[in-house]
Amino acid sequence: MTAKTRLRDVAKVIRSKNAGPLLLTIDVIFDDRETFDAVLAAGLFAPRRFAALYGVSDNEVAVIPYPQALAVKVTLPRLHRSGGPADTDVYGAQQHAPVLDLEF
């Protein structure tokens, strides 16, 4: 691959959601094994990339591939607790946008 590819052009699902009121979990799911392997091999899911993207420290980010579902899960702290006074997204369902344009 020479030209850069955006994640949104190769993933089938890019979603964010609460994993409880303290954590945000981002699932990226692919259609085929080749793409899944290529994206992982490209280092796109290094914790530090997501840490930088979401303004948290590296050790707060968990990246867990789940090959059975051709998926990678990234879990990190929410900005505010779900539904608390300062929260902006109770379900955490619209926090995935920065991931769409990750390039590899």
Binding site: G20, P21, T25, Q68, K73, L79, G84, P85, A86, Y91
Partner: protein, 452 residues
């Protein structure tokens, strides 16, 4: 054995076609989860359901009539949404009313899940609680000030109720997967498969295609495998959806913590056995050394009032942050003049078109949009103070000058009259911890009764 999850949530609905067909497949229990903390802390704080009574009544009626006709147990978990005592009582009342109207009689177990505060404080002081994620350790103070705290039961209270002959179980806060794992585990089925089956079916039609609303899903557990299929003849379960559901709303894709151990699906195998059925094998369960249940609790933060307004003036949009800052300052002075203490309220100006969704995590500042939506959000001790602060914010935003201002008659476009709206009480999750139990039944009192 075969069982059926009627819907992802009592009140979200299911088709009668799917329900009848599923029941006809010879299911040995039916269940439905009624709870979630996903809609936020308000519902637990106020002990109110987030589905309508009308929808809840409809779903419960079909389930009760079906379960009694088939002579199989019915389990509802996390009654009323939060699974607190008040929400449990609400669900119990609906069930008793439906039974009366439909002429049904049955033995019912009602299981509470709102532990005694003295018990929780004793556990905190004994060092038997732990944070469940990024939150401060639990203290006696946090327990004392919480508006409500529930504990999430495992399979044991449900099994005790089944042992006691319960035909209908209404449980307070309850592990979603436990609703469906309870009976297979009693029958001696493999724990990894029973818990994984519970996890897959608890969200109902999440694993069904086409994805048109909620519906029933049937699970069959056998020797070394389980299978899931839709109740509805025209729908199907796909391998991809079932595998992907293992990930859903869970911090880890391959580990799901339950009170008695951890479901490990890292080696699970998902196979499409026919067009509408998926078979799963290889799930494992690692029993825990200590029995722990999750505690969920909320603290009251005050009362919220809001207004919604648009901004279309490009001169103002170009300097909105500075403008908002000066308005907050002016409103603060005006509020102080009312004798309201500055530490008794919070003003949050949520500017849509200006990073309101992602806040400080927004990576794309972008060009100025042609309009902004401002949601002015005030939280104060009571509604009177909240309204008073919001009115000062409204006045200052409507009439404060800014450099280059030409629109001297007003800075905001209000879509509604009245502009100011009472939202209600605001809560925050202050308890999200585990507590170690000596007895899995301890904080979950079981009341048995004959409904007729």
């Amino acid at each position: 054995m075969r069982l059926m999850a009627c819907s992802g949530m009592v009140g979200y609905g299911f088709t009668e076609d799917a329900f009848r067909r599923g029941l006809g497949l010879g299911v040995e229990m039916i269940g439905c989860d009624a709870g979630s903390m996903d809609p936020g802390p308000y519902y637990l704080g106020t002990a109110t359901p987030f589905v309508s009574e009308m929808a809840t009544r409809r779903d419960l009626r079909i389930m009760l009539e079906g379960a009694r006709a088939a002579g199989v147990p019915m389990i509802v978990g996390s009654a009323g949404g939060g699974g607190s005592d008040a929400q449990l009582a609400w669900t119990r009342r609906l069930i008793e009313e439906i039974a009366g109207e439909a002429g049904l009689s049955f033995r019912m177990a009602v299981i509470g899940a709102e532990p005694d505060r003295d018990f929780l404080t004793e556990r905190v002081l004994a060092g038997k609680t732990a944070p469940l994620g990024p939150i401060q350790p639990l203290t006696a103070g946090t327990v004392g000030e919480a508006a409500r705290i529930v504990a999430m039961m495992g399979v044991e209270p449900l099994q005790a109720a089944l042992d006691g002959g319960a035909e209908v179980i209404v449980a307070g806060r309850c592990s979603d997967a436990a609703i469906y794992a309870a009976l297979p585990l009693m029958r001696g089925h493999d724990a990894g498969l029973a818990w994984h089956l519970g996890k897959i079916v608890e969200c109902g039609a999440q694993v069904i295609e086409p994805r048109v609303g909620q519906d029933c899903i049937v699970g069959t557990i056998g020797d070394g495998y389980f299978e899931v299929e839709p109740g509805h003849q025209d729908k199907r379960c796909t391998r991809t959806r079932v595998a992907a559901h293992t990930l859903y709303e869970n911090p880890s894709p391959s580990e799901l913590k339950e009170p008695s151990g951890v479901l490990d699906s890292s080696d699970a195998v998902f196979e499409q056995v026919d067009e509408r059925t998926v078979r799963v094998s290889g799930s494992r369960f690692h029993p825990a050394d200590r029995y722990t249940v999750k505690l969920e609790g909320v603290r009251r933060e005050g009362v919220r009032t809001v207004f919604v307004a648009g901004v279309r003036d490009p001169v103002l949009i170009g300097q909105f942050e500075d403008f908002a800052r000066s308005c907050r300052e002016r409103a603060g002075n005006d509020v102080a003049a009312l004798g309201i203490s500055p530490d008794s309220y919070r003003i949050n100006l949520r500017v849509y078109g200006g990073s309101a969704v992602m806040g400080e995590r927004e990576p794309d500042a972008g060009a100025d949009p042609n309009e902004l939506c401002v949601v002015a959000d005030v939280i104060a001790d009571d509604e009177t103070a909240s309204r008073a602060v919001l009115a000062k914010v409204r006045y200052s935003m409507l009439h404060t000058d800014f450099p280059g201002r030409l629109c001297i008659s007003g800075n905001l476009a209000f879509p509604f009259s009245p502009s100011d709206m009472a939202v209600g009480e605001v809560f925050d999750f202050s308890v999200w911890h585990t507590v170690e139990l000596d007895d899995p039944l301890g904080p979950f009192p079981i009341e048995m009764m004959e409904v007729r």
